[in-house]
């Protein structure tokens, strides 16, 4: 009898991987930002699309773990090795954080599932400032190094890395003031307390519509696609690329990423990859991308890994140059 049972158990164990993974209890979406942040909106948009089109039978629970620039969420997810019910939403902070702070997780503790979009970065100045274009901005910055104050979200994170790369590229210095969020940096710029910020389109869109801030150039290889004008007859398409403006820093973007704890099976990764792929095809997703002026870019598997590798190398150079790498 015992022998019979163990044979049965063995047989079922062998048969298991053949069955596709299907969640049968609630899936937790771990958001590595506070409520209302960019990553939060990303995760909740995915959640709302899954719910609306019933792309998954199991219910979704969103939890915000944004402490320590998102480290809280990654450490939490890393602790659930192999758990197929913890889907973590982030940016490139997943592989950046372990390089700049002594956080208790390694980039390898999470398995990449997909990158769903690329968020853009722009140079913004106050709407009333006398900088008419990026060239005059750079000129002033070079004439008086250290005089221009950039505000940004967090320290040694994407914003500061960009400001530092920009300084290096044009050969000057900027002063960087870290705030808690891009929203704070946006208000400080609108109030004229800082000279510039490098916010994502969505973080400054509202203020641009009111003419309180204006964009100088965008760090993407080509201009934004044609769209409705936003302010004063100008739309996203009218913004120069920074390369056009003569800044030798062509491309700087931030991926919107989804991860699973390391050790999750290939079938689990495949399941979520398919769900997210379906999400990315829905009109609501396209609407979200358009509203937030992000670039549609769905990366999975080796393509995603390759992207991470390249991004990591580029950023590590800056970190090394600034002496921010932790030993």
């Amino acid at each position: 009898m015992l022998k019979y049972l163990s044979v049965m158990a063995l047989a079922s164990a062998v048969a298991m991987p053949a069955l596709a993974f299907e969640p049968n209890r609630p899936v937790e979406f771990v958001v590595t930002s506070g409520p209302g942040g960019g990553t939060d909106t990303f995760a909740r948009t995915v959640q709302s699309i899954i719910a609306k089109h019933k792309l998954m039978d199991a219910p979704v629970v969103v939890t915000n773990k944004g402490g320590g620039s998102g480290a809280e969420g990654f450490v939490y997810a890393a602790g659930y090795k192999g758990d197929p019910y913890k889907l973590t939403f982030g940016t490139n902070n997943e592989y950046l954080l372990p390089s700049v702070a002594a956080v208790p997780y390694k980039a390898e503790d999470l398995t990449p599932v997909a990158a769903m979009a690329l968020d853009e970065f722009l140079i913004w100045v106050n709407g009333k400032s006398d900088f008419s274009d990026a060239a005059s901005f750079v000129q002033r910055a070079k004439a008086k190094p250290g005089s221009i104050q950039f505000g940004g979200s967090q320290s040694k994170d994407t914003d500061q890395i960009l400001v530092s790369s920009l300084a290096e590229a044009v050969g000057t210095e900027f002063r960087y003031i870290p705030f808690k969020s891009g929203g704070e940096a946006a208000t400080q710029l609108a109030g004229g307390h800082i000279d510039a910020n490098v916010n994502n389109p969505n973080e400054n869109r509202g203020q641009w519509q009111a003419g309180m801030v204006k964009p100088l150039c965008v760090f993407r290889p080509e201009r934004f696609p044609e769209s409705q004008p936003v302010y004063d007859g100008k739309g996203w398409h009218d913004i120069q690329t920074c390369k056009e403006a003569g800044i030798p820093l062509e491309n700087y973007r931030m991926p919107r990423t989804v991860w699973l704890p390391a050790g999750a099976g290939e079938d689990v990764v495949a399941f979520y990859r398919d769900v997210l792929q379906k999400v990315s095809k829905m009109p609501e997703w396209q609407e979200y991308l358009e509203k937030t002026s992000q670039t549609d870019q769905f990366l999975v598997s080796d393509e995603f890994r390759g992207y991470v590798q390249k991004d990591k190398e580029a950023v590590t150079k800056v970190l090394e140059h600034e002496g921010w790498l932790i030993k």
Binding site: P35, D40, V103, Q209
Partner: protein, 508 residues
């Protein structure tokens, strides 16, 4: 007067059977999450958010904002009944609310709190209606130095007012600052005071500390004082609610002053927590008989409550007018706006007036609904105190621990609550005040960020705190507040000398 026309349109949008039902449901859910410590308004609103995905934006915002009002009211209930603040901003309500409830006047304490809160909220909405465009511009003038000055003022108006030894106050406050630094530092991006403990990366939640220090600490004390297994014997008469209502005009000055403080803190946006502490501190400072504070003084209840709620409602204005959330709950709602297809920011007033003014109209109605609902439940809540401790004690413990877990779904936080509970007990035994610790913990990291950002802006020169009339006047006010006890003493001494000269027989 243009705003007034818009407001009437707003009322026209909101007054429908459908929306009124949504309001009542929202307020009731809000009271529920407010009463349960740990759940709180931000969590409650994010739990409800998925439900609104399919609603039209006006109904969705009415539901969420009404839940917010309900949660604000609910938060004061537990502060008064059990000394457990449901929200950071209702900590100051415990100082006098809990003693008053303990002395058998729970009905009076709750009614005072709810009515003054309602007055505060309505005052905040009136301000939004009348001054929306001007206020938006004013809020933009605030940068890091101004924020630091405001926090300074909050600390200053609170320092030196306790009956405790100044050194003990200082120790408590410094502990609070130390706790506030745990976790990742905004300015350097480094981890501080985490000692390799993974769970400390996110920092120590203020709510965990408060639930332990106040809630568990209080329970330990009660247990020690000879387990009183019977509840407080009070007769609860619904008529007491009306009698307390008649008492409200006597506190008009305290309420008026606190409302102004609240509105100012709400729009800057320094937030309701700073407002409630500041209002409590200032009311106490100007009180004729400060010795009653901390023992159940009615103005110690109405001041923080009216300031809290006027700040809470005014905080929605920066969100609507500038796209800057003034509180954690406002941040969640802003996320909601985007999912409903709206862009938060200055243009919202122009592009979607129906939405903005519908929301403002619902703030009037929602708060009135909330006040009526909570007032009618006062006798019910007050009756809870009559339940024997043997029953209510364990329930409170269970609620506290489940609440602590819910904040971040972390079991580590439950251990922290226990540690804070023991600390709270020791604090009370040794007569160390807990309030300064709480204040430092809530505002400590914000004040530190603001200070260091200012230093980066000015290249390390302190003169930035006097660099324009706005920051200089707030800073000056703070220093005046700090020096007030000294000034008061000197004045008192002079009066005393003068009086003794006039009438030598009474001087002794």
């Amino acid at each position: 007067m243009e705003n007034f026309g818009h407001l009437l349109d707003g009322f026209a949008t909101v007054i429908s059977g459908h929306h009124l039902i949504i309001m009542v449901v929202g307020v009731m859910l809000g009271i529920l999450v407010g009463v349960l410590p740990g759940l709180g308004a931000p969590n409650g609103v994010s739990l409800l958010l998925p439900l609104t995905f399919t609603m039209d934006p006006v109904s969705a915002i009415v539901l969420l904002s009404c839940m917010y009002w309900g949660a604000l009211f609910g938060g004061s209930t537990t502060s008064i009944l059990f000394n457990i603040p449901g929200e950071p901003s209702s900590v100051a309500t415990t100082f006098d609310g809990y003693p008053m409830a303990r002395s058998g006047q729970a009905t009076r304490a709750l009614t005072l709190a709810f009515v003054s809160a309602g007055i505060g909220a309505i005052a905040g909405v009136v301000m939004i209606t009348l001054l929306s465009s001007w206020v938006a511009g004013f809020a933009l003038q605030f940068s890091s130095p101004e924020f630091f000055a405001v926090y300074c003022l909050a600390f200053a108006s609170f320092i030196g007012m306790g009956g405790n030894a100044p050194a003990k106050t200082l120790v408590s406050m410094m502990l609070g600052f130390a706790l506030a630094t745990i976790g990742m530092d905004t300015i350097s991006g480094g981890l501080r005071l985490t000692f390799g403990v993974h769970d400390l990366i996110k920092g120590v939640s203020f709510l965990v500390a408060v639930m332990g220090l106040f809630g568990i600490g209080e329970l330990l004390l009660t247990t020690e004082e000879g387990l009183r297994f019977e509840g407080i014997k009070t007769r609860i008469r619904p008529l007491d609610v009306l009698r307390t209502l008649a008492e409200i005009p006597r506190h008009a000055v305290a309420i008026g002053r606190s409302v102004l403080i609240g509105i100012w803190m709400g729009i800057t946006p320094a937030g309701p927590t700073a407002a409630s502490f500041m209002a409590y501190g200032i009311t106490r400072r100007f009180a004729r008989n400060a010795s009653q504070f901390g023992k159940g003084d009615p103005s110690g209840i109405v001041s923080p409550e009216s300031a809290d709620h006027s700040a809470g409602t005014s905080a929605l204005l920066p969100m609507l007018a500038l796209g800057v959330p003034g509180s954690a709950t406002a941040a969640v709602m802003m996320g909601g706006l985007m999912i409903w297809g709206l862009t938060p920011g200055p243009m919202l007033f122009i592009e979607r007036p129906d939405f903005v003014w519908g929301l403002i109209a619902s703030m009037y109605l929602g708060n009135i609904v909330a006040v009526l609902l909570v007032l009618s439940t006062v006798p019910l809540y007050a009756a809870i105190l009559r339940v024997p401790f043997a029953i209510i004690g364990p329930i409170i413990v269970a609620v506290i621990f489940s609440g602590a877990y819910q904040i971040a779904n972390s079991t580590f936080d439950m251990w922290l609550v226990l540690i804070f509970g023991v600390a709270g007990y020791v604090f009370k035994k040794l007569e160390y005040p807990i309030a300064p610790l709480v204040l430092a913990m809530v505002l400590g990291d914000k004040a530190e960020d603001a200070f260091r950002q200012s230093m980066l802006m000015s290249n390390g020169s302190l003169s930035i705190f006097w660099s324009n009339s706005l920051v200089a006047s707030i800073m000056g006010l703070g220093i005046l507040m700090l020096a007030w006890p000294l000034i008061g003493k000197v004045m008192g001494l002079r009066n005393h000398v003068r009086r003794s000269r006039q009438n030598p027989s009474t001087a002794s």
